[in-house]
Symmetry: C2
Subunit: 550 residues, 2 copies
């Protein structure tokens, strides 16, 4: 912050850096008896308290010190959501090293690329990733040791992995006396690579300051709204932008924490919700599809589940309505990016809206929402000129704020900012009240005769049809209009619908000229490592598709 | 923050100072149409929006610039809660100057002392304080001009005040184009003097950083819990620790804001609650006495009022129960100090408590609560040794955190910290779950035969008696025990109770030896400028009181 001029009169307040270690110290002191419950990779349920977690995190910090890990060194994890991963979150960042969470769904070569790029010194991994690590280990040039997150009796009898250690052995040897160091709050705390669909993955390098400000902001009533009465189950993985900051905000607020481990199917999640009294969860839409289908097929209800934040990709309005009206679960639509720690906006009503009709409320709640304080948004045209907030004008969405990156790790990709703003690669409209709605990814927008058609709107309508499971809309070549929309649909098992039915379904829901020119049915859609539909793959598949209108 | 070591690897996040101006920019952009409603000193109701407020704040910032106000200069206010005061909050701090809010209930000589000590350059004041300002003006050596917060037609025809300006004229001449400057976040933003009962008043000099971190923390679900659906009426004055930060947190969250002006009687407050749909309010217990008595006497109900935060002094349990059980209003007990911006703790339940009986919940909610994340607490004995958190051991309460002072303005009072912790002057117990309960001010605690008796507990029991309006308990001389408790009571109008009835009322509620030795009845109790009962005055009155037990 030193580049900003100082006033001749400075405040006389205590100087304390914003550090991640202060979260676990706070949780230990004020919520020491609150539980952390984990469904483990081993299959059983593990439970302990925030005080236990603090104790073991301090043991791990001492272990890292013994291993020679120093401030700024990168320590990687390849793990599901669980208590040992949580200990790594606090021990690595808290001791001044940098936690590098790797997405295990990536291809081994990508994992190795990322580990080498990050120059990771150690890799902590869940036991079910042993085969992945065996494949990756020979490719990783900087990793000095591998730590398997398990007890001694789960360790493999023999392995090709050099310097393989057992997590429980490693920390058992270490004292739980540890003084968390104080250092500059702009020091790096954690590293997360974007799952870029083009080019090499690029790292977002968070600081303690950015993480702590994000933690305060994300717990606010209009963001994740986490309180000491909540029981929080992060379905969003800890390797995916720090599980949207939930491992931090639960310690800030004293909420009970429930980890699902690798069991992300509807049945397992539902059981954990009911057994542990989960009140709040967060994840991408694809996960909720599986949960809702389990609940509906078995005529179940949620006893304690009250609120979910859905992000990662737009939540289909039909899913939002099902949650709200059939199960009484409030859905908060949120939007963010790896480059934004990740939270940028959340969609909640203001006092002006509480007396609106249900339909009017719903149409607001389908938007991505307003900026969470700290973040600012704007939309610009291709020349960088700011566009009006009228709810109609499409523009490239730019963001800034203290938890937005200024550059990627190692300056990968060079200067990414546009006059101090980060270009999100999304296309959005913003209305008069500041509600932002993503209409498309810049590269997914369909350009028909010079006008922009938002593919997401078309997909949302399609998935509202009772026979449609998933839908993707892409622009394909048209001799007159340059591009016209093609709808690719996966039907629900045992359900049927025709092309004509689907196209008729658009009547009155959208401008006539936005209606797709054609529909094709597919068995499945290609998904990326974070569960998002890979539009570029679909565009490749249908590159030479000839529209009947062409 | 520069005294802390940097990591070899710094984060790559945007560098943005935490500045108060970002709040009003945010409110303008994302909550521009949300209202600010003020009952004015003039008597009428004024309403405008956050966008209007931003526009006029920028005009005022330009006006301050014209007046020659520079970064770090102090600008004072002597004003009730209202929209012009709000504009001063943002224009003064936002432009880099320091807002010095003065308590108009102080004696004119104290006001002059404070203004001279702060070296205020200008004083902005409400029109009803004209006589006070006329008395004070000749005593103020540094003030170059006085600005009356009113229209031209309210200005006095003649006055003894030198360089008296009209607020509306002042800003009418100025453009609403203004670029809020960026500067170091540790720059001073505002100044508030403690109403010390002994010695000269001392100033707490807040920074932009401390104010912004406090704003995030105070809006959290377990603190003030402010959302965009709230309508907030701060009864706590803006000259009293920045109205507990509410003028900031409403802009952070988009809540509608309602200002009561000087009309703090029960009837006026109630009318504003009902007219404007107030959901949330905050103030000291004495204000709520008047509101509850108006509501009860007229058989009224609250239509929208749901939640209040009570602080400043301990909330009598009887008041908490009345609010909760008769009116369905949740009371959150909070504790803080001018030296803490002011919020330190708030009392809410955790998930462990939600299934407890009403009585068990009530006994938790009567405590001052757990530290809001950012603040840390400890209790120590007179030698500075930390005492256990067992819910029984009394100790001197110490605090630290990024919104706690490290010293007073101009180092008044010298080194105030004890090994980095601020001594609050309160005596407290902390239980196993981290809930803190103030048992007394260090100087109010009654020392009977080497043991400490908490005066607050004794007062709480007294005011739970149906005939008691107010009560104060002080230690008076006893030849055997050094001190024994004397209860001073003000009866409710038209109600009667005897000494023996009152002493019997303590039976079974408290250890026998804590029961006061005597009761005296008074017509009223002396109140300080912030509405607190002045125990030192009462102690003076009864200095030579002879107890019947002596």
């Amino acid at each position: 912050m030193s580049q900003y001029p100082k006033s001749p009169l400075m405040g006389r307040m205590m100087s304390q850096p914003l550090l991640i270690s202060s979260l676990i110290k706070h949780a230990d002191r004020y919520y020491g008896n609150i539980e952390v419950v984990s469904r483990r990779v081993e299959g059983d349920i593990h439970r302990y308290t925030y005080s236990d977690c603090h104790k073991r995190s301090k043991q791990l910090a001492n272990a890292l010190n013994k291993l020679g890990v120093k401030m700024g060194d990168r320590v990687a994890t390849l793990a599901w959501n669980g208590y040992r991963h949580l200990e790594a979150y606090y021990a690595v960042s808290g001791s001044g090293a940098v936690l590098h969470t790797i997405n295990p769904r990536l291809h081994p070569e990508q994992i190795a690329y990322i580990a080498n790029h990050a120059e990771d010194l150690y890799l902590f991994f869940d036991l079910n990733f042993l085969p992945v690590v065996e494949a990756v280990a020979p490719l990783c040039k900087t990793i000095k040791g591998f730590v398997m997150l398990c007890d001694r009796d789960r360790m493999p009898a023999e392995t090709k992995i050099p310097n393989l250690m057992c997590y429980e052995d490693l920390i058992a040897d270490c004292s739980d006396e540890y003084e968390w160091p104080l250092f500059d709050e702009n020091s790096a705390s954690s590293l997360c690579y974007t799952s870029g669909t083009t080019g090499n993955p690029k790292g977002a390098l968070y600081s303690h300051r950015s993480t702590m400000l994000h933690s305060y902001a994300s717990a606010l009533p209009d963001a994740l709204n986490v309180s000491a009465r909540d029981v929080v189950l992060p379905v969003v993985p800890m390797f995916h932008v720090n599980a949207w900051g939930l491992p931090y905000s639960v310690m800030l607020t004293g909420a009970k924490l429930v980890f699902p481990g690798p069991a992300l199917d509807g049945k397992s999640i539902y059981e954990l919700f009911e057994q542990e009294g989960v009140t709040f969860s967060a994840g991408v839409p694809t996960v909720w599809l599986s949960l809702l289908s389990h609940v509906s097929q078995n005529n179940l209800k949620f006893s304690t589940f009250k609120r979910t934040v859905i992000g990662g990709s737009a939540c289909p309005p039909a899913m939002m309505k099902t949650f709200r009206h059939e199960y009484g679960v409030d859905v908060v639509h949120a939007w963010g990016m790896t480059e934004m720690s990740p939270l940028g906006t959340s969609c909640t009503l203001t006092g002006k809206h509480v007396h609106l009709s249900e339909d009017a409320k719903q149409s607001i709640l389908e938007k991505q929402g307003r900026a969470i304080f700290g973040v600012d948004l704007k939309i610009v045209d291709d020349d960088g000129h700011e566009l009006p907030w009228d709810g109609k004008t499409y523009g490239n969405l730019l963001v800034r704020g203290p938890w937005v990156i200024e550059a990627y790790f190692k300056n990968e990709g060079g200067d990414v900012l546009e006059h101090g703003w980060f270009p999100t690669g999304d296309v959005a409209v913003i209305d008069e009240e500041g509600y932002m709605q993503i209409t498309d990814r810049s590269k997914d927008v369909i350009k028909s005769g010079g006008e922009w058609i938002g593919s997401i709107d078309l997909e949302n309508i399609a998935v509202a049809h009772p026979a449609v499971l998933q839908a993707a809309c892409i622009g394909v070549f048209h001799p007159k209009w340059d591009e016209r929309p093609l709808l690719v649909v996966v039907k629900k098992p045992g359900m049927d619908v025709t092309k004509d039915d689907l196209l008729k379904f658009y009547d009155g829901k959208i401008a006539k000229w936005w209606t797709p020119d054609d529909v094709v049915f597919a068995d499945s859609l290609p998904l990326g490592a974070t569960g998002k539909i890979l539009k570029n793959k679909i565009r490749e598949t249908y590159r030479d598709y000839k529209l009947p209108t062409a």
